[in-house]
Amino acid sequence: MNASVSSGVGSLLSGKPLRAIAALILVVNGLFPALWILLTSFKTEAELTMKPITWLPHAATLRNYSQAFSDQPLLTFLYNSFMVALLSTALTLLVSVLAAYALARLNLRFRGLIMSVIIAVSTFPLVTLLVPLFETMRALNLLNTWTALILPYTVLSLPVCTLVLTSFFEAIPRDLENAAMIDGCTRFGALFKVVVPLSAPGVFTAGILAFVNSWDEFLLALSFNSNPGLRTLPVGIQLYQGEFAFPWPIISAALVVGIVPVAILIVIFQERVVSGLTAGGLKG
């Protein structure tokens, strides 16, 4: 390792102890907030109001977790978040796989224009459509339904997923498809039997991006689904605040429960997520 000391700015800090300091800075910056919430979630209300404040919990307790589930329908919030994210991800993938295939493989006359539209939509501020979408959902009686969120979330992730998938499709040799078509596959057949399986990592990456986008969205969920039974997690978490009291240990426990599912997804698929983010973010 020492033999291959890196060049460039890196070697300003290439000594081992300096590298350790760099790692420490990165890890503390990235993980301290989540760690602090985890520590808070194990503290009792009494410990929380001690001065000076304690860092490590003195008498760790799991009571906050059971209260987080009993005070509010936390499982329902999780279920709503999960189903909305899952269904909008599925819809996004279906639509963007088709569009990306056309962009990667067909001789489109207006390809440049279509790409510009996709990029413009990827920066579209969905917030500004709060009024018309609110009106439409209200008129269609869709307020307080999953559909009211699934449709906008699909549009939210569609551009970035299309860009990621287009770049993955472009990397697949055309010969494979042609061979399949010579063997009697139709174009759709070739798409779903050859191209999609071969770009499975890309489809998967796009899927994770869409899922995280939906899982994180707050404003539309807050505006369209206020019924406690249909709140998603970020919206539901507000219900723990009493009029005057702010039960921080219980809120922290609920936050930990909300962070864990996506954290697991990120830990398992970290490399794919990074490649997807950079492919989607840097395209163009």
Binding site: L130, F218, I259, L277, G281
Partner: protein, 313 residues
């Protein structure tokens, strides 16, 4: 008898031809079929609502009044110009953008340079950039509200340990605003860092080796090789960040709710309040048109730049 058989065969043939045209359409038909779902979705969820938004912004449409919609001309826009909260919220939004976009860039650049060191284990570094990105903004807002809690927050605790007096962050407009900006910079910098890190990794090592031979110092290498080669990456990241920042809602909503008073309210928060709480759809629309305009300016800049770089290459 013979002709009947022939007829039947002919019918099967045409059916087969129709079927195969559907299953194996020519290029143009296929393109239309493949792009149609995306186009319909964008039409229904974006194009139509944008038209509706602009139309509604000229209406007097308040759901609480129970009166039917009435054309009001520019009344909503007139009201906006005379509305101090609108100016406050717009100014806050612009100020947040001016502070947090460069802030997140600088912190992100620093993190990316650190993360680009030759670590033996890559995953802890990667995770410490990915977890803040994946954390919902609303969660980040709550967590930072807890960090800056005046009595039991960890920020005041650390201040106390190094001998500084703790402060009541959310009672003062300035301090509350500073706390919000810090939270946004923390949340946004990790995504910046990931994008910049990917850019760093595409810079060929040979450039630095050549510079070493020429005797250029590290600092010079950074300003003359790293930074110029990162420029396209950084510009794209900045534009995305700027547009996202104009929509700031979650973090201030969770940390201060716009308070004290309306001193930390953003344009998105004011749109939300007028639409969902006051059900004043006309005024909410006029406010949204302003944000739409702001954001379109940045997008236009972006598209022009992409076209420019395509022509250049």
């Amino acid at each position: 008898m013979e002709s009947m058989v022939k007829n039947a065969a002919g019918r099967v043939d045409t059916r087969r031809a129709i079927l195969s045209r559907w299953l194996d359409p020519d290029e143009t038909t296929l393109a239309v079929l493949l792009l149609a779902p995306a186009a319909i979705l964008l039409g229904v969820m974006i194009v139509y609502p944008v038209g509706r938004l602009i139309y509604t912004s000229f209406l007097d449409l308040s759901l609480t009044s129970g009166l039917p919609a009435r054309f009001a001309g520019l009344a909503n826009y007139q009201q906006m110009l005379d509305d101090p909260v609108f100016w406050q919220a717009t100014w806050n939004t612009i100020l947040i953008t001016l502070i947090t976009v460069p802030g997140a860039l600088l912190v992100g650049l620093g993190l990316a340079l650190l993360a680009n060191l030759p670590f033996q284990m890559r995953w802890p570094v990667r995770l410490s950039l990915l977890i803040p990105w994946a954390l919902p903004l609303a969660f980040a807002g709550l967590i930072f509200a807890w960090f800056f809690h005046s009595e039991y927050g960890v920020v005041n605790d650390v201040l106390g340990r190094i001998g500084l007096p703790g402060v009541i962050w959310f009672n003062s407009p300035r301090l509350a605003f500073a706390a919000i900006c810090l939270a946004i910079i923390w949340k946004a910098s990790s995504f910046m860092a990931m994008i910049i890190l990917a850019g760093l990794q595409t810079i060929p090592r040979s450039l630095y080796e050549a510079a070493d031979v020429d005797g250029a110092g590290r600092v010079r290498q950074f300003f003359e090789i790293t930074l110029p080669l990162l420029k396209p990456t950084i510009v794209v990241a900045l534009i995305f960040r700027t547009i996202t920042s104009l929509q700031t809602f979650d973090i201030p909503y969770m940390m201060t709710g716009g308070g004290p008073g309306t001193s930390t309210a953003t344009l998105a928060m004011y749109i939300h309040q007028n639409t969902v709480s006051f059900l004043d759809l006309g005024y909410g629309s006029a406010l949204a048109v302003v944000m739409f305009g702001l954001s379109m300016c940045v997008t236009a800049l972006y598209l022009r730049m992409i076209r420019g770089s395509e022509r250049a290459s």
